[in-house]
């Protein structure tokens, strides 16, 4: 079997075995669907509730995307600001860390009190997602080759030229790594806020559907929504990885093909 097929075939095989065991357990122990639905029932629910779940998926994805975009802008912008001014970095960095280490589950209910619900969800997505962008981009901006920096100094480059022609391109790999993490985290932030908001009433995102189905003991729909969330997460990761590889393929060791 070739090296190109194995990374696809093996996970598919594991999935098939897992689903088979799941189906056998549900069937063998005659577990009722409101405790653990079988894979076929989950798929059937996914099809039957497609319209409802699809709309909810779009709501969650939109929030995730907005949160990701704001996190990218905020993280990269703040990293550039930190890199240009030590004073700003010293003043603000500790608070960025505090925002990051305080569990989002604990912040979400508070945000829901002070902000309108859609804005609170967006804020949660942003808070979780922006820090990896900030931390990685800062690392990248600070890891510039010292000799290249000396070279730019020798040719009397302006601060702007150093940033645009040297620091940002050189930080690109770390920046993209941060964005890749932020994509998944922004989905998590949106879900956490939706769940927190779910108990507060309003909302129509996918996570809200999970909470709602839980109250109604509609376990198959919980699984169907969870499956969609996972797929969305995988899709986000895949898209960002592809973009990152595309941007770095010509020059960075992480993305360039090795010739053996």
């Amino acid at each position: 079997m070739s090296d190109r097929l194995l990374p696809i075939l093996l996970p598919v095989l594991v999935l098939a075995i897992g689903v088979l065991i799941w189906a056998l357990v549900v069937w063998g122990f005659a577990i009722p669907p409101f405790v653990l639905p079988g894979p076929r029932l989950v798929l059937a629910t996914l099809v039957a509730d497609a319209g409802l779940l699809w709309n909810s998926l779009l709501v969650t994805l939109l929030i995730t995307f907005e949160g990701f975009l704001l996190a990218a802008l905020g993280g990269i912008g703040l990293a550039i600001l930190f890199n240009q001014s030590r004073l700003v970095e010293y003043s603000l960095y500790p608070y960025a860390v505090i925002l990051q280490v305080t569990p989002i589950v604990a912040i979400a209910p508070l945000l829901l009190i002070y902000l309108p619900q859609p804005l609170a969800v967006l804020a949660c997505a942003w808070i979780v997602a922006f820090f990896p962008v900030l931390a990685n981009t800062t690392l990248g901006l600070n890891s510039v080759d010292h000799n290249l920096l000396a070279l730019f100094e020798l040719y009397k480059a302006t601060q702007w030229q150093v940033l645009w022609n040297l620091k940002l391109p050189s930080a690109l790999p770390q920046m993209l790594a941060g964005l890749r993490i932020a994509g998944g985290l922004s989905l998590i932030g949106a879900v956490v806020a939706e769940i927190a908001a779910g108990s507060a009433g309003a909302g129509s995102g996918l996570a809200y559907r999970i909470a709602e189905s839980g109250y109604r003991l509609n376990i198959p729909r919980m699984f169907a929504a969870l499956l969609l969330l996972s797929l969305a997460g995988v899709a986000i990761f895949f898209v960002l990885s592809t973009l990152s590889d595309f941007a770095l393929r010509r020059w960075h060791e992480s993305a360039a093909r090795r010739e053996l």
């Binding site: 080759d145 000799n147 290249l148 000396a150 070279l151 730019f152 100094e153 020798l154 040719y155 009397k156 480059a157 030229q161 022609n165 040297l166 391109p169 050189s170 690109l172 010509r250 020059w251 960075h252 060791e253 360039a256």
Partner: protein, 255 residues
């Protein structure tokens, strides 16, 4: 190509003490004459790279003065590593100094191509640095240093990391460029053989703190080639320089 032309840069009693207290240079005196090829030779840590960075303005002297009798000219600097931007193609790397000076893009491109031709790398203009061998990367780095047509070319052990065959080849090509362009070159090296092969004048330095121990004038005619490298004359110069370096290192060790 006499070594006694007017001075392009002079270091007067230059000293450098780093923040950690290390005295890299002390009372360092050097006159670089216009058009000459001079080498700074010394063991590692003798401050020769520091002297070069002070001339380039990349490092400030703690004591003494750097004088430019005819005004500060354009400087080209070649680092020990190729120091290319991995995300930019070779041509863009070579054109960088012109881009930073906001020169016209078309003219910069043409100048970069000419510099690449001079170092024999024209056909790799569109390649990325990672696709080049070590010697080719160094050629690109030299092309970048030449692209501004510098009055003074400063080279900090540029060939130290290369294999001997590549180094000999680059030595020859560097000499050809120097003879064609008549630039002033200050070349830092720890190799006796390389310094004798290339230079008109070798400044032998003592370590800790770095200062000039003695000078050796290599008055063998150019062009120098493989015949010179295997000649008795070359061997004689190498013996003299090696002896001077040995004494310099011993003198530095005692102080």
């Amino acid at each position: 190509m006499s070594a006694s032309g007017p001075s392009i840069v002079s270091l007067r009693g230059v000293g450098k003490t780093f923040d950690n207290g290390t005295v890299a240079l002390n009372g360092f005196e050097l006159d670089v004459h216009t058009g000459e090829f001079v080498s700074l030779l010394g063991s590692s840590g003798c401050g020769k790279s520091t002297a070069l960075r002070i001339i380039a303005g990349l490092s400030a002297a703690s004591r003494g003065a750097v004088e430019w009798p005819t005004g500060a000219g354009r400087i080209g600097f070649v680092f020990q590593e190729p120091t290319l931007m991995p995300w930019a193609r070779v041509a863009a790397n070579v054109a960088l100094p012109l881009k930073l000076a906001r020169a016209d893009a078309t003219a910069s491109q043409a100048a970069a191509m000419q510099a690449l031709k001079r170092v024999g790398l024209a056909e790799f203009a569109g390649a990325f640095p990672r696709e080049l061998s070590g010697g080719m990367k160094m050629r690109a780095s030299i092309a970048r240093a030449l692209v501004t047509e510098p009055h003074l070319l400063l080279m900090d052990e540029p060939f130290a990391a290369l294999d001997e065959i590549t180094r000999f080849k680059l030595n020859n090509d560097l000499l050809a460029v120097w003879q064609e362009l008549h630039r002033t070159v200050v070349f830092v090296t720890h190799s006796v053989f390389e310094s004798v092969y290339l230079s008109q004048r070798i400044v032998v330095m003592t370590p800790r703190p770095g200062r000039v121990f003695t000078e050796v004038v290599v008055d063998a005619p150019y062009p120098r080639d493989e015949r010179f490298r295997t000649s008795a004359e070359y061997a004689g110069f190498c013996r003299r320089v090696a002896e001077a370096l040995y004494k310099a290192t011993a003198a530095g060790g005692m102080s």
